[in-house]
């Protein structure tokens, strides 16, 4: 346990004294973002959802993979900023757990994994629920592992659960006290209570998604109908905590004798995503791209890694201009049409 006053002092000390960059959720206009903390008072642990998930710290929107000199060849690069990330919601922690699996599978992606290793994840249980969020239905409104520390707001203090050695060490400098029986039951109540707060819900258990999606793959009418207004803008990809597709490009210095190979976020909703040599596009229709994303989230990744790669954050739905990306609408409809 830590009083809110002591917690702020603790964060202030981290900001001022810790060698690592301290990142936390802050206001930006009428929304919230993860950004570098300049002062503890800017931290908003009562936020509903951030514009982008914290994935950007392990897989930046753009990063250098290789530097090259035309005469000497290629050299791998991994620019790592060690960070303490404050205020990650459980659904985002679940997404990070899934990404850790993706990037360590078969070929270890050190560019991601080393950044992850250098980060401390401080979670916070959800205080306010975004109108688009359906984490309650995805089993991701709380999480019992995969954080270094987890905070729960119980009035004038935070309960702190320690999830790792890294988390334990971070608390070294904090004025913490033992939790009482009352504190423990208050945390339990908070966690149970949050499940009821979500307006958006799935009418089915998420475990049914892989089979429902498999059955509906050939229902072209269904996918055409839902994707009719899709702009193919890729906003849903951009804000998703489990979208990790990327493009790789070379950028030369003006001298043309050296440069950098950069990876940047890409999105399967963009029209050019599946084009091959000779300009053949294997997903040239909107509905195919739209379907691919849902198949990937609810079926393909499940078949490969055993996870439903939708954590219910609702960012895709809230950022979609024609408002056709809300997964609860698709999944609930899917249930209807496959009856």
């Amino acid at each position: 346990m830590i009083s809110k006053e002591d917690f702020e002092a603790f964060v202030e000390r981290l900001v001022k004294e810790d060698h690592r960059e301290v990142v936390g959720v802050q206001e930006k206009g009428d929304k919230f973002v993860f950004d570098e903390l300049k002062a503890a008072k800017d931290l908003r642990l009562d936020y509903d959802v951030t514009i982008l998930p914290p994935k950007k710290y392990f897989m930046p929107q753009r990063e250098t993979l290789v530097k090259y000199k035309v005469k000497d060849g290629h050299k791998a690069v991994n620019e790592i900023t060690p960070r303490i990330i404050l205020g990650i919601h459980p659904y985002d922690l679940e997404a990070i757990r899934q990404m850790d699996k993706v990037f360590s599978d078969t070929y270890e992606d050190k560019n991601y994994l080393k950044k992850r290793e250098a980060s401390v994840l401080v979670g916070v249980n959800i205080e306010n629920v975004s109108e688009w969020c359906f984490a309650g239905s995805m089993g991701t409104s709380t999480i019992e592992e995969h954080y270094d520390l987890m905070l729960t707001d119980i009035g004038d203090k935070y309960a702190i659960e320690i999830g790792s050695e890294k988390g334990f060490e971070l608390l070294d400098e904090a004025d913490v006290m033992e939790a009482s029986e009352d504190d423990i039951s208050a945390v339990k109540k908070k966690k149970e209570g949050v499940k009821e707060k979500f307006e958006k819900k799935l009418d089915l258990p998420p475990e049914e998604l892989p089979i429902l999606l498999e059955r509906s793959y050939g229902n072209t009418d269904f996918w055409k109908e839902h994707s009719e207004k899709c702009y193919s803008c890729g906003s849903c990809n951009l804000v998703c905590p489990t979208c990790y597709c990327f493009d790789v490009k070379d950028f030369n210095e003006l001298t043309l004798d050296e440069g950098e190979r950069i990876r940047q976020w890409d999105g399967c909703l963009l029209e050019e995503f599946a084009i091959v040599a000779g300009d053949e596009n294997f997903r040239e229709n909107r509905y195919q791209r739209y379907r691919h994303r849902f198949m990937r989230k609810g079926r393909y990744i499940h078949d490969r890694f055993g996870d439903i790669a939708c954590v219910g954050c609702g960012r895709c739905g809230s950022h979609c201009v024609p408002d056709i990306a809300d997964p609860t609408e698709i999944y609930n409809d899917l249930k209807e049409v496959t009856k």
Binding site: L65, V66, Y68, K69, V70, G73, H74, K75, A76, V77, N78, V102, F103, D105, T106, Y107, E108, D109, K110, N111, Y217, G218, Y244, C245, F246, D247, V248, K249, D250, N252, L256, G259, R261, R263, D266, C268, F273, A274, I275, V276, A277, G278, E280, F282, R283, Q288, H292, M295, R296, R299, Y300, D303, R304
Partner: protein
Amino acid sequence: MNRHSIYEPENAKILNIREQTEKEKLFEIELESGEPLDHDPGQFVELSIAGVGEAPISITSSPTKEGASFELCVRAVGNVTNALHNLKINDEVGIRGPFGTGFDVEEFKGRDVLFIGGGLGLAPLRSLINYVIDRRDEFGKTAILYGCREPCEILYEDELDQWDEMTNMDLHQTVDRCPEGVCWEGNIGVITTLIPHVDFDPDTTIAAVCGPPIMYRFVMEELKNRNLPDEQVFLSLERRMKCGVGKCGHCQIDGLYTCQEGPVFNYADVKDVEEAL
């Protein structure tokens, strides 16, 4: 594989370049380490040209080839492949890989082998053809069907002559069309017109097929007519594998990663996958 980063290419040198056609060149390449590539027939590498980018290229030489070098047969179609065509002997490139699943040679052993190649599809197929030739005793009868659009597009002309002269190897060639004034005494017609000319036993034959997307549909139909079971057909599919290591998502065929489960697939595994063929 590089231990620091899966994205760091290893330096390699171009040892030899042989012009094949107006658009295709055969590059003999050796890694700076002097180590062999250690690949399976049908696998690919990511070829890097600093300042231009990377492109997935199938390996056209057999792992049984003498020496540490390997070969890539490349058509100049994009930025990387055009840049490669401008390079000279002793110039350097970067190589990552080998990647992907190639032809499962164990499946082919003890069987008759039918190779069907269309256009540049002969390039990956050649890695398996030469593997079979180098270990001739381990395989049964073999036949190669090879089709191009025009006689000027024929690859590996010297090697085709050698294959043609081999006993126990049946070579059939065709071109879709032959412009006036060009000398061509062989068959004219699409590749499927060759299939009736080959005598094979569907019980003992395994087919390796490689060509442009449009070719597969017709070839598969013809093989079905000849009662060759789907499980006995392997094919190599082309997608834009950008990372080669199952991460970037570009080469996905529905749930399959071309760079992991492929590029060589068993036909039975992909025939019902909508995005595959």
